[in-house]
Structure formats: structure tokens, C-alpha cells
Amino acid sequence: MSAYEDGAACRRHGLVAPARVDRWPNFGLLALMVAAGGLLSGVFLSFHYAPTMEAARTSVLHLQERVTGGAWLRGLHHWAGNFAIVLAALHGLRLFWHGGFKKPRRALWVIGCLIFLVIVGFAYTGYLLTGDERAYAGLGIMQAVAGSTPVVGEAAARAALGGDAISSATLTRLYAVHTMVLPIILVLLLGLFAYFWRCLGPARHHADTTDEVVPLTDYALRRDLIAGLAILAALVFFAWKFPPAIGPQADPIGPGAPDAQPEWFLLWVNELLHMDSLASIPNATFVLAGLVPGLLVALGIGLPLLFRNPERAPGKRKPELILAAVILLGIGILGARAAARAPATDAETTTETSGGETGNGPGDNSGSGADSDAETLNAAASTILRKFKCASCHVIDNAEDGGDSGPMLWRFGNKDGIPKFGDLYTRAYFRAKVGDPEKFWPDTGMVYAKRAGPMTPEKLATLERWFFDGAPTPKSGDD
């Protein structure tokens, strides 16, 4: 064993590092940096948040839209959390590739895995706190998964919720975990990590078997600092360009969110829960959302015990690599499938192909060609409506669900007094209002889903045609 690895060099010279620097920055250090940013921004976010069902979303919205710097603070916090997951995962993958989980770094690997779990725990509890429909859906899944635990299910669900239903007690305990419990655990784990890391230093390249060390201060610190600056720039860019969304207020007795996807790192579990072929497994919820992720976590942590051969070169560790590849590929495919199903994505493609203005009014509708035109128009309009989340506030055209904070938009009205859309609004009003609701009449609070992108003239024309000129479906042809 080299002087580097048995720590003798450290005792002689203080902190040391391998003299041969490989070309990647230290992702672990970068993860630590963004995690520090997450903690720091979190401290100040907590000044503006109330963990109750009534106030949670309002307080977040207030921060984001009324408080100077609030949108920045929340955006940075959100993206710092996501970046930390990605960087920590990259760090783990790199270590795995170079056999960095093997002796003498086994303890570091286990602690590192636990740190990764805590980082994911931050992101998970964080996204459940916003008090909007999406968070509410996530809380429902948390309740169901906890409740599906064999034997102690009911107790687990109550422990998770702080009672028998999703309530302010639930938000308060998640907030306590997010801001008290997890930071304390993180700091303890980092301390333990530092203790073991002290004389081992950064993991070396698998081919580096030499004795050469340099003082740590020289070791690639410049490269890591430059990479750190790049990561900070990326963080600012993401916080600026992709601010975290906040949806409609959670309403426990309302119709629920039209699309309630969890955070990206949970999509693969959600996809498992979605698969019809797996639904027949006994207690599928627990098996798929509890047991499977739990076993994978155990596998990850137990890696150093499972693969004890000291070989570090990837070429000589086929079974390890194949196992990891299969698992990562599986998770990747599941996640990609879930992402592909998200409405925002499919709306994009449909709208662009069928949203064009073809200029036919109601009088042109005749024969089968008109039917297919009407279908095309319906499809185009419904993707736009879905993408812009109109149904969060409006009941549109006699739909089953829809929010009630905006007026009902029924193209053909009904006999019981809901007026026809064309009687309520003029085309000019429609174009001005729907074209740019925040500018035209900000007081109504009408805003589009952040992810929807701009309301282009083509989309506006499609909607106008659908609302004003669309033909009723044959069955309800009383208009």
C-alpha cells in the first residue's frame, strides 16, 4: 500500500493529494459548494415562509412576486438543491468507476452515500412544502406509500402526516425535517466524512498506483475553483431562466392538479407506480415505491462489502460495472418514459404542427372534411389550454374539472344561465386579454403557467377560432 493511502504522507506533511491530477474537477467539492449555497439561501428563505395549508403557497408567492430579491433567492435555493443532487451523483459515479469505494475508502463511501440520501431528502421535503396542487399530490403519494408499509402502515402514515389527513401539521413537520433535522444530520455526516477523509485525501485515478503526493493546497484547487465559478454561473442562469413554478392553491376537495408529476429524481418511481403490468403485485405501492428504492439504496451503501476484490481498474471489474449499468439504465429509461408523458412536452409538438391558422369560419364546416377540421381545431385548442393551465382557474366548455377562481368559459353556454362565450367577450377584448393577460389587466391576477412559454399569435388565433367559431359537437347541436 502506498504512503498516500495508508495516511503516512498525511502525518508527515499535513493534508496531501495525489500528484497526478486527472482531468475532471472534484465533483464532491462542487456538490459541497452548492449545498452550502442551498443552506445559506434556505436560512433567508425561512424568514418568508409559513408552513400551513392556508398560508404556505401565499407566502411563497408573496416572496416570489412582491419581495425584492425573493424570486432570486427562491430560484437559487431550488437550483442549488438540484445541482447538489446531480454533482453528488456524478461524484459517486466517478468514484465507482475508479474503484474509489474499496479499501481503504470503504467508510468514506458509506458516509458519502448517506450524505447523498440527505441531499435527496432535502429536495424531496422541499418540493412538498409549496402548498400548491402539485405538492398536495406529492403529499398524497407520501401518505399512500407510508400507509402501504406492511404491519405498521397506519402508524407510518400518521407519523408522516402528523395526523389522519394532510394538514398544516404535515407541512410543519416536513418543514422541521427540511430546516432542522436534515441540516443537523448533514453537518454531522460531513464532520464524520472529514475525519475519515483527512489522511486519505481525494480518491485517485484507478491507474494511479504511485507514491507521489503533493500538499493539498496545490492539488487541483485552481481547477476546482474555476469549475466552481462555472457552476455558480450556471446556477444563476438556471435561477434566471427557469424559475421554480408555483401552481394553483392546493384544494383537498377540488379536482386536483391536471398534471402532478413529482420532482425529476422521483420520476422513475412514479413510472413504476404507473405501470399496469406491475399493479397486480401484492401490495404494489409498497413494493414499488418503498421496497425497490430501499433495496437499491442498501445495494449502493453495501457496495464495498459486496465487491471485496481490491482491483480498481474498470476493465477487471466486469460484474460490478454490468450491475451498475443495468440499474442506472433501468432508472434512466423509467425516468425518460415518465418525462415523455408529461403534458408540457407533448403539447409542444402537437401545437406546432396543428396550431396554424387555416382561416375557415363556422360557415365552412360541411361534410367529412369539416369534421376532421373541427377535430384538428379541438386537438390544437386543447393542447394550448392544457399547456397554459387554463383549467387551473376556469371551467372550460362544460369540462368535468377546472378551477373556480376565474369565470366559466363555456363556448355554447347552457340553458341554466351560463352565458355563451361570444356573448360575454368581444374578439378584440379576447385578443388583448388572452394575448397578454398580465399587461392587459394585471389586477385580475390571470397568469399563464411559467413553463408554457409565450402566447404566440398562432396560438392566440387558434384559441380565438376555437372559442368563437368552433362548432358544437353533433350531439349537442342546439346552438
Partner: protein
Amino acid sequence: MTQGTPSSPAPKHRTGNQPDTQVDTMNRRGFTKRLAKMFGAVFGAIFGLPAVATLADPVLGGGASKWVDAGTLAELAPGAVKRFKYPVQAGWETREEAGFLMRAETGDEVVAFSARCTHAGCKVRFKDDEFHCPCHGGVFSRNGDPIAGPPTVPLVRFETRLDQDHIKVKA
């Protein structure tokens, strides 16, 4: 492993691709240090600025008073005193605070007081034609002047005006 002597530090081990002269090492150290400082400054600015801005926001904003409706003159008999409520925008909430309206014995003049005691901020109550503070026994006259106990300053008055029959208070 044998211990190295204290006078033979790391350079013995520094091999590999970097040149190993004293001057070069110094330069690189200096550069790394400057880079570390720059990184610290950027990190501090990115997270520090929004933190300071959000902390300062409620301090610098707020304090705006608005005309609020406090009922009609007809509901307030000459010489009578009654409570009124006014909204205060605070953080993400609109809270209600209470004040008192006092109509002069003769004429239409209406005075509006804050219900906060000028001693240490407790809410005063109207009793026996005086305002009494429960905290340290302060007493104010119906005109809001301190007449007993620790308060030395009159109750805070709000601007009022009559709009048709409605009493408007700038609270």
C-alpha cells in the same frame, strides 16, 4: 513507514508534469489564492445580495396608509365613541387592527385614534368615558390626552374626512 524529518517537507514528493522551481511554486500559490478570493466574492455576492434584499424588503417597504371606510356618520351619535377596524398589509397577509372613532358633542367633527397605548403599545379599552390601558394603568381622556399612569403622549390620531355620509380614515 519512517517519519520524514521536519526539514524535508513535501517538495521531495512533488513529481509529475509540473516544473518544480521555488519561484514557480510561489506564483502558482499566489494565483490560487487570488482565485480563491475571487470565488469567495462571487459566491458571497450571488447568495448574499438576494439574502440582504429580502431581509431589507419589509424594512424599506410598508408604512403606507390608505383611506378606509369607517362606517356612516349616522351610526355614530354626537359625543359617542366606537371601534373601527382598518386593514394593514403585512408580509403575505392583510391583518386587521382596531382604532377608535370619537364624534364631537356638537357638529360633524370625528376624531380617529389608534388603539395602541403610547406607553408601551398595549391595546386600550374605552370605559367610563376614558381610555384605559390594561398593562400599566395608563388612562387617556376621550380626547386621547394622557391623564393618569405612565403614558405622557396622547393617543395617535389618524386623519379623517367626511365623504357624503361616510367617515373616511387615513389609517
